[in-house]
Symmetry: C2
Subunit: 259 residues, 2 copies
Amino acid sequence: MKEINQIVIIGSGNVATHLSLALKEVEKEILQVYSRTAANAKILAGNVEANFTTEPEEVAGNADLYIIAVSDDALIQVAERINFNNNLVVHTSGSATIDVLKNFSSNYGVFYPLQTFSKSRKVDFSEIPVCIEANNIENIERLKSLALSLTDKIYFIDSEKRRTLHLAAVFASNFSNFMYSIAQKIVQDNELDFDMLKPLIQETAEKVQQVLPEDAQTGPAKRGDEMIMKLHVEMLKDYPEYQELYRILSEGIGKMDFD
Amino acid sequence: MKEINQIVIIGSGNVATHLSLALKEVEKEILQVYSRTAANAKILAGNVEANFTTEPEEVAGNADLYIIAVSDDALIQVAERINFNNNLVVHTSGSATIDVLKNFSSNYGVFYPLQTFSKSRKVDFSEIPVCIEANNIENIERLKSLALSLTDKIYFIDSEKRRTLHLAAVFASNFSNFMYSIAQKIVQDNELDFDMLKPLIQETAEKVQQVLPEDAQTGPAKRGDEMIMKLHVEMLKDYPEYQELYRILSEGIGKMDFD
């Protein structure tokens, strides 16, 4: 099995950035960063001691691995302009299937880190699950070996399951962050400090590390406390969208029964 | 100022339990626990070395403080059957006003710990914000002194602001937990392990300890990735309620602009 040492990063967004930094930290060589935006490419390349290009045609042909971390919309467009010389190519998408890459190299796969990345925030990669898929066993082994240098939370799941996981992750992360945002909006509009809610948010997330969410549910909707729910709906009269959302979510919690 | 030492707890639910345990730990004496459910009263009383009663009329009259931690629906019903001898009485409700207690004692207030409590889980009270309100300055000082024995996160806010905070907390905690639950349902139905989502949930909550939620938002709706959103809606065809919710939440994220 040929170890992966030299890597080209395609993309310069949140996933590309955090993955490059983590790989650099475990002594992998980032050969090159490609991004259509020169400024972003330059910053990331600088941070991982790589060169950069904004031209797909100028991407180096001799890497052990190409990691395409761009939006699903751009994935095929950028892949078809790069010559991978049949080296191993992976994407990092939760929702794109493995097959989107099969026309571009005879060695391809998926390397999906299940986490929410923001450039401003350092993450501990050893806590991040990585989902791996590849076109053959050797490539799975190579990707596994690479992933093991970052984390021991490695999962081998197919494209359909990864898609499902990604959908669940949207609820677990993006939508729960939206709930925090609505809370932020409400406290800010009333001259209260969002800091007051931080321990609550932290504990809510920590609780489900031990207890399943369905068993961790608390609050007026769970207790069926109609008086408070009515009051809350009334208080939301100036936020018609959140008022409607409050009703729908409370009703959903009331009906929740997963057994 | 007369220090609060002897306390009667009215209620035996999550808040009553955690607050009693925390107060016992800082050397306060729990005189008595009242609950209409004998079994619950007995368990809690046993844990804090108190006696217990299921009769409001048998509640001891000589406590420094009565903490009523029952549902808002039951609050007045239980208070009007107890003789507080004009000693200090507080409730722990986020939404009930301070005034609901004014007919029952000439010393009254609110002691609202802003946290999600589950009996199965120990919480660190020093991380919990406590919101205090009382009918006069001396009672505020007495409650402040008590609160300081538990936490240094003390806030003095009136009933209206506390209500607003509670509403925000429902979004930040109860509704985000419901998002986790939907994610749990989706992974379970597809034979994936909820464990895979735990680091993501943790990081999502940790991120907003540093960055405001509106700036921490990630995901397909934030990026305007129509292709993935369409796919996700299609994947949710067997969950009509969550499908509708996905649409509403994605639209809400798309429109989010708090500045």
